[in-house]
Structures are given as C-alpha cells and as structure tokens.
Amino acid sequence: MTVAGEMAPVALGSISRDALSGYLAISGDGNPVHFDPAVAAIAGLADTPVPGLLAMALMERAVRHWFAGREVGEFQLSFAAPILPDAALVADARPAGTSGGNDLVRVRLLCDGKIAAIGVLSIATGTERA
C-alpha cells in the first residue's frame, strides 16, 4: 500500500477559548502562557496561545481521515508560529517517500492561512490499527 498522490486539506475548525479551557483541565497543563496575557506578553505574544500539543492532537482527525485504519509510526511537528484561539485551522499533507518500509508524509498546520507548524508523519505500510 502506498500513500495516495493527493491528500485533500482537512479543515479542523478553530479552538475556542472554552475548548482551550477544557483542554487545560483535561490535560493538567498549567503553563500560564496559555491563560495569562501578561505571561504571553513576555513571549512577545498579543494573546494567549493554544498549546502546541492541542493543535497537534487536533491534527489526528486529519491523519485518521487520510490514513484510516493504518498505524502511525512517528508523528513529528515543529511549531513555527503561535496558534491563537478562534483562528481557522487547516491540515494539509503531501507524500515524501518511504523509509524503513513506512510511508512518509510531510504535514503542515495552517492557521488563518499561514503556516503554524510543519512536520513529518511515518505511516506503517499496509497495517491496520489494532
């Protein structure tokens, strides 16, 4: 099995402040940069950013859409720009060859049309999720 030549972008919606609060409660993430504007300002941010981990988690919807039933071997993401609440998020992807028998895919997370994160997925070839 190989990666399809085209993987349509997946609109992920946005992360509201309520959703952000819910995530912080579920995860236990207590980094004040995500809820205290004064701390966010230290990082040069005009608003409290969405945790990178939450944005990465949201991308799993796109991963499952593109590769339904296949195991993820590796998921790597670098956060290039802050993701702010209520911004429109879109995930896109394109094939990037194979490695060790796995399909490689370059992924991006777009935030209001601008690149917020880039990374690589490694998808096991022809395996089904347990």
């Binding site: 959703a19 819910g22 995530y23 579920i26 995860s27 236990g28 993430d29 207590g30 980094n31 940069v33 701390v39 300002a41 230290i42 990082a43 040069g44 945790p51 990178g52 981990l53 990465m56 988690a57 949201l58 799993e60 919807r61 991963v63 499952r64 195991e71 993820v72 071997g73 590796e74 998921f75 790597q76 993401l77 670098s78 956060f79 999720r129 347990a130």
Partner: protein
C-alpha cells in the same frame, strides 16, 4: 554557555490511561471515544511529580514555550492500560537560546516499549525586553 545548560533530571513512575480521561479528550477532538489520542503520553508531563522535576529545570526566571514535538509509536496505548513511564529533562543551549529537552519513554507491564517522545521547549527569560 548559560550556567543552567547541562542541568538534568529523571523521574520514573507507574501510570494508567484512565478511560474516562482518554475518552473525554478523544471526543473533544472529534475522535471516537474508545481511542487514546496520539498525544496522550505527553499528558504525563503534567503530573505533579513530573511538573516538580521540569519546573525545577525551567526555573522561575523563564517562560517555557513548546516549539517541537516527536512521538514514535511501537504499539498503541490502550484505555485502562497500565504503563511504566520515564521522564528525563535536560537544559541545553544552542546558538545562545536556552532549551529544555524532555524525553518520555513508555513501556508496558512486560517491559516492551510502547511510545517514545521528545518535547523541545524554548525557555524565554522573564526579564523585561528579553522576550522574542
């Protein structure tokens, strides 16, 4: 090199993927409620004992900003599964920027590796004018 570069620490503990917590998180993402989201292992970074370790490495004079994340999966986590978790943190300095690298290793009850993860965290100084 900053005086904190090279500072490190490790902690190990037993952890359970609490089904209600995993399901609530999965459903909040629009995923099936019986799954464990891919990023779930990183939640163990927010446990009190882990935060004590990592908070000590960050210090009160820096703000941590998550700039990179890698997960490598040998097997899926399962709701209700019990795991042995090791968290190792190390302060580093690259081209004048201070970072905290946090490695998580998750093994099952038989010692088989389930997940490895690395978080790269940029440490921004709190002092006025030193932020990005």
């Amino acid at each position: 090199m900053g005086e904190s570069a090279g500072k490190s620490g490790t902690i190990a503990f037993e952890a359970v993927v609490e089904p209600a917590r995993a399901a609530r998180f999965a459903e909040s993402l629009g995923l099936p409620g019986d799954t464990v989201p891919l990023v779930f292992p990183a939640f163990w970074l927010f446990e009190p004992e882990t935060q004590a370790l990592l908070g000590g490495l960050v210090g009160k004079d820096h703000v941590p900003i998550h700039v990179g994340q890698v997960f490598r999966y040998a097997a899926p986590l399962r709701q209700g599964g019990r795991y042995h978790v090791t968290v190792a943190g190390e302060r580093t300095e690259v081209r004048g920027k201070e970072n905290l690298l946090v490695d998580i290793t998750v093994r099952d009850a038989d010692g088989n590796e389930v997940v490895e993860a690395r978080s790269t965290v940029l440490l921004l100084p709190v002092a006025a004018g030193e932020g990005q």
